[in-house]
């Protein structure tokens, strides 16, 4: 065990500046798959690169800067994989503020993480950036959807089993009325829409969406118009596996831009230990191709191997 850690540390530190030992790194991903405790122990042991602010674990800033200058997709994925999930989510959200990532990443993180995970990400964000994520989103993002985003990121949804079915039915009706009367541009700023989507529990919302379909004969996404923010919110809450499989697919398209390609790494790393099996099934059903095959065809080298290991080939 001590040997492995030592060789991994060496691998990260590079051979005296002659690059990094990628083979060793890739082997660790296989060995430590689905073992967050191993990674946690490695982080606390590796004081050159990982440190703590209070109880929040983080990468040393110097190290991250150095990585950027020797950027390669593989090293990026290794560091992300070793990072604490809270730090990962905080850094991804921070990227959105500086416009290098699309705002949908915030919707993704706010809606697909559990309430406790989102709290952890917000704490990590404060430790890293000396601001709360709510204040940064409210300040830096001045679009029609910013009220919805702030609400999503401030939420601390109830996670228990209780659902008030009558209320869910009532709110499905209310949403129907709002959708009918509001212009599609105004929908994103409607108080009731925001209230329901940003405060109700996920179970309650799933029930609401089900009632909506029964009431109006079609799923709510079809009635939300071209409103990307609303669409993604509903998808992330109701069918996260579908959301993730679509995000992955965009990365493989011809002429995909950099942020879209980065979503491949992001989705696979963040979901490897959570619901990867479901995402693979959904992907296969939706696009008629196995995810393993797409990855094998479109990526190379150690990056490819790591992705394949993470999805559990």
């Amino acid at each position: 065990m001590a040997d492995e850690t030592l060789s991994l540390k060496k691998a990260f530190s590079g051979h005296g500046g002659f690059g990094v030992d990628e083979t060793t790194m890739a082997a660790m991903v296989t060995k430590w798959r689905k073992q967050p405790d191993q990674k946690s122990r490695f982080r606390s042991d590796f004081s050159g690169f990982f440190t703590k602010i209070g109880s929040i674990e983080k990468c040393e800033d110097d190290y991250l800067l150095r990585l950027k200058t020797e950027f390669s997709r593989f090293k990026n994925i290794m560091v992300l994989w070793l990072m604490h999930p809270w730090e990962r989510d905080a850094r991804w959200m921070h990227h959105v503020m500086h416009k290098s990532y699309p705002f949908t990443v915030i919707v993704e993180i706010a809606c697909t993480r559990t309430s406790e995970e989102l709290l952890g990400a917000k704490r990590a964000y404060q430790a890293l950036f000396n601001h709360s994520v709510e204040e940064d989103v409210a300040y830096h993002i001045k679009e029609s959807y910013s009220k919805l985003l702030v609400g999503l990121v401030s939420s601390f949804r109830y996670e228990g089993p209780q659902v008030d079915n009558d209320m869910a039915k009532w709110e499905a009706k209310a949403l129907g009325n709002v959708i009918k009367s509001a212009g599609s541009g105004k929908l994103i700023q409607n108080e009731e829409v925001i209230r329901i989507l940003t405060t109700r529990s996920k179970r309650h919302l799933k029930a609401t969406f089900k009632h909506y379909k029964e009431l109006h004969g079609k799923p709510i996404e079809e009635d939300l118009g071209a409103n990307l923010c609303l669409q993604e919110t509903v998808k992330c809450i109701d069918k996260p596996a579908k959301y993730f499989s679509e995000a992955i697919n965009i990365a493989f398209k011809e002429g995909a831009d950099k942020p879209s390609k980065l979503s491949l790494t992001r989705v696979i790393i963040s979901r490897a230990d959570v619901d990867m099996e479901e995402i693979k099934e959904t992907y296969h059903k939706q696009f008629g191709v196995k995810l393993e095959d797409m990855i094998t065809k479109n990526t190379h080298g150690h990056y490819k191997d790591t992705l394949l290991t993470l999805i559990g080939k």
């Binding site: 709290l119 917000k122 000396n130 709360s132 204040e135 601390f156 949804r157 109830y158 228990g160």
Partner: protein
């Protein structure tokens, strides 16, 4: 500075429970014994006592209290005994079920607690009411109040001391602009008040005063009857000077004919472990009367003894005055309703 006094050697939870049980036994109740124990234990000690009591006697301490005592005394003891996060969750839920814009409880909980304390309240609310605090708040309030209260209560502010002076200056300007236009619920104003860290907000409000010659709150007094402006002022005071805010709540509760027992109980039970000493000093400064003397003069019986026990860092000071009738006839119903709701939640009935 807290006023809570805990004895140098604290009896074990089991010993405390035995004494409490003795206080309940037989005819009548030994209220003084109840006060002498519960009013002198901190939050973690009280929690241990409740757990131990339930384990030994197979019954909840709060239920025994409800059976044995009543009225304002019962309300004070039960609120005090609850864990601070649960207490705030109960107060918030009570305020929501009977929501009136002039009720400041939600503002106090959102603004006079630390970020982590407020988050603990939200967690306690989940456990007690099987819904999130935000969803109940959003569903029970409307219009400008909802616009202010939901983000206030959902905020998880950065707690560090860092302040960006440039930002403070620019946001002070924005605040001034909006209130000059009487756009008191403008989204920028709400954004600044509900997302910035307390240190940043205080710096911004100081800048406001420097730049524009008068404090922010002074500019929010255009219409004394406007409840929304009153809420804004309360929020600002809770951030900046909670001791003076609570001293005023206590003063208003005591002044004039009769007493607002609920408000008095709220101030004393929610601040005894926080800054009640500072509140006493602020009260004294403003009225030239010590708070414990004012409370003793305005309340009576076991209720008075409980409040004084929490208020005074010394052996009990019991008033020898005549009992003054309370005009707001707080009945058994007052405290029991609070407790009945608590029971319902915990038993899931």
């Amino acid at each position: 500075m807290a006023t809570l006094t805990v004895p140098a050697t604290v009896p074990s939870p089991a010993e405390d429970c035995e004494q409490l049980r003795k206080a309940f036994e037989g005819w009548g109740t030994n209220e003084a014994l109840i006060i002498s124990i519960l009013a002198h234990r901190n939050a973690s000690q009280r929690l241990l006592i409740r757990e131990t009591y339930a384990r030994i006697y197979g019954q909840m301490l709060l239920k025994s209290l409800n059976d044995e005592i009543s009225g304002d005394f019962e309300r004070a003891v039960i609120l005090w005994t609850l864990d601070p996060a649960e207490r705030d969750a109960m107060l918030a839920n009570e305020a929501l079920r009977n929501w009136k814009p002039q009720n400041p409880v939600l503002i106090e909980i959102a603004c006079a607690r630390t970020s982590n304390e407020l988050f603990a309240v939200r967690q306690a609310y989940h456990a007690l009411f099987k819904r999130s605090l935000e969803e109940d708040l959003a569903a029970h309030t409307t219009g400008t109040f909802r616009k202010l209260l939901v983000p206030l209560v959902s905020s998880y502010r950065y707690e560090g001391p860092e302040v960006n002076m440039k930002l403070a200056k620019s946001e002070a300007k924005i605040l001034h602009e909006k209130i000059s236009d009487k756009a008191y619920d403008h989204e920028d104003l709400i954004r600044i008040l509900t997302t910035r860290s307390k240190a940043q907000l205080i710096a911004t409000l100081n800048q406001f005063n420097n730049e524009f010659g008068s404090a922010f709150n002074k500019n929010l007094k255009s219409d004394p009857k406007d409840e929304f402006l009153a809420s804004l002022r309360a929020a600002v005071r809770c951030f900046c000077c909670p001791e003076r805010y609570f001293a005023k709540v206590a003063r208003v509760a005591i002044e004039g004919l009769g007493t607002d027992e609920n408000a008095l109980t709220r101030v004393i039970t929610t601040r005894a472990e926080v800054d009640l000493q500072l509140i006493k000093e602020a009260y004294m400064k403003r009225t030239s009367v010590p708070l414990d003397r004012a409370v003793a003069g305005d309340t009576s019986g076991d209720y008075e003894r409980m409040l004084i026990a929490l208020l005074v860092c010394a052996p009990d000071v019991v008033s020898g005055r005549k009992e003054m009738p309370s005009i707001f006839f707080s009945l058994q119903r007052n405290a029991s309703q609070l407790y009945i709701n608590f029971l319902r939640l915990v038993n899931g009935s």
